[in-house]
């Protein structure tokens, strides 16, 4: 292919690897962990793999009108430890994050302290070695670790999302280091998450959503899908009362042992979503049981659903083969942010969205 245009980023010379680390740490360019030095060659390798020019516009963050280019994403991806084959996932994740409905600035600056969670689907998982089995929500494999990390480094460096700066998170959670899971499609009886959300089966895809930390549940004492889902729904109701009562994109992660119970009973993801939609609801008055009497006021009977519709539930098949565990991952804050799913590499020549005129007063 033709030679890429030159990179335009400023270059710094460091005398050795330690000097590189101190340079990046001292400038606030890291997440606190050592980084991989982003050299011209390593950044170009990512761009060439993704067939992107350095100045190609991936998208524009709409609040601050920040242009996100291929070159800058590649630099942060290399720093995170990404190889060229990981980079198309990073680019697609950012395209999804920059969609207006995702509310990237809002979710990453809020005191609420969510992280951006990525769910990977399709053949690319196998190509990059992304594993959706053991330790799926922890450090499961190199690919998900570095792809997840590249998102955080990009937020830090391209959007100033640093603690105490734009990032006003009171607590945050460990997913802010890296929060990326591959769905275990090979051992799941169900459609991939991306297919449920409209991407044609067989395409690789990324789903992004603004996610709190996982809340682990356990129910290995029944084979009845309803009883298993009652445990998930109870955890969602607890989140509604303890953290945020508002409905949005909740995710539930169902590992192999529990998945088998659903499969034997003939339950698919739609059945699961419809049941959880009905059961994950609280009344405002229940706030009084958890120390929030002050905000019940005269609206105690008002019902709040965890999900706006069954379609809001992201059902993810992932996790190791043994253990009757599952996880509930709550959204940042209701439905102010919406999960976004995009295919990878299916629209290489698409134009990024153009910025709208910001003020009719101009």
């Amino acid at each position: 292919m033709t030679e890429l245009r030159s990179l335009s980023s400023q270059t710094y010379r460091a005398e050795d690897i330690s000097a590189v680390q101190e340079l990046y740490h001292s400038k606030g360019w890291t997440d606190g962990l050592p980084i991989v030095p982003p050299t011209d060659a390593s950044v170009r390798a990512c761009l060439e793999w993704a067939a992107m020019e350095p100045d190609e516009l991936v998208g524009i963050e709409p609040v601050r009108e920040l242009a996100i280019t291929g070159e800058k994403l590649a630099i942060n991806a290399v720093m995170a430890g990404c190889l060229p084959m990981h980079f198309p996932v990073v680019v697609t994740a950012w395209q999804a994050m920059l969609r207006e409905e995702f509310l990237l600035h809002g979710i990453s600056s809020s005191t609420g302290g969510c992280a951006v969670m990525l769910v990977l689907n399709g053949p690319i998982r196998l190509e990059i070695g992304a594993s959706g089995t053991f330790n799926a929500l922890g450090n499961s494999d190199r690919a998900t670790a570095v792809i997840g990390r590249s998102i955080r480094l990009g937020l830090i460096n391209l959007m100033d999302v640093r603690p105490g700066s734009i990032d006003r998170s009171t607590l945050g959670h460990p997913g802010k280091f890296s929060y990326c899971v591959a769905e275990d499609e090979e051992d799941s009886p169900w459609e991939p998450l991306s297919t449920v959300r409209g991407v044609p089966n067989g395409l690789s895809a990324v789903t992004v959503f603004a996610a709190m930390a996982p809340r682990q549940i356990m129910n290995e004492w029944t084979s009845d899908p309803r009883e298993i889902l009652e445990t998930f729904a109870a955890e969602m109701r607890a989140n509604q009362l303890h953290y945020s009562i508002y409905g949005g994109n909740y995710a539930i992660v169902i590992p192999k042992q529990l998945r088998e119970q659903f499969h034997k009973a003939g339950w698919n993801k739609q059945n699961i979503a419809e049941f959880v939609y009905e059961r994950a609801r609280v009344r405002r008055g229940e706030w009084a049981q958890v120390g929030k009497t002050a905000v019940v006021r005269d609206r105690a009977e008002r019902e709040f659903k965890a999900l706006g519709s069954p379609d809001d539930l992201l059902v993810i098949a992932a996790g190791g083969p043994a253990g009757g565990f599952g996880a509930v991952i709550a959204p940042w804050m209701g439905s102010k942010t919406r999960a976004v799913t995009l295919p990878i590499g299916a629209c290489i020549d698409c134009e990024p969205p153009k910025p709208e005129q910001t003020s009719p007063l101009n």
């Binding site: 601050r64 600056s109 100033d160 105490g164 700066s165 734009i166 006003r168």
Partner: protein, 56 residues
């Protein structure tokens, strides 16, 4: 701005191209302040608000 958001406001002002954008600061938090406290904050800031709207 409440006190805890002052640095965020200063950063946003800088990145949006107006590094010295003036604003009024009130005590944090407001979400659990009672009505008397909120009245006191509104009163205390009224003069600053007037000045910002008239002279910047």
């Amino acid at each position: 701005m409440t006190t805890q958001f002052v640095t965020a406001a200063e950063l946003m002002a800088r990145v949006l191209g107006y590094p010295d954008y003036p604003f009024v600061i009130i005590d944090h938090p407001i979400s659990n302040a009672d009505d008397d406290a909120l009245h006191a904050r509104a009163s205390a800031t009224l003069d600053q608000i007037r000045r910002l709207l008239l002279t910047g």
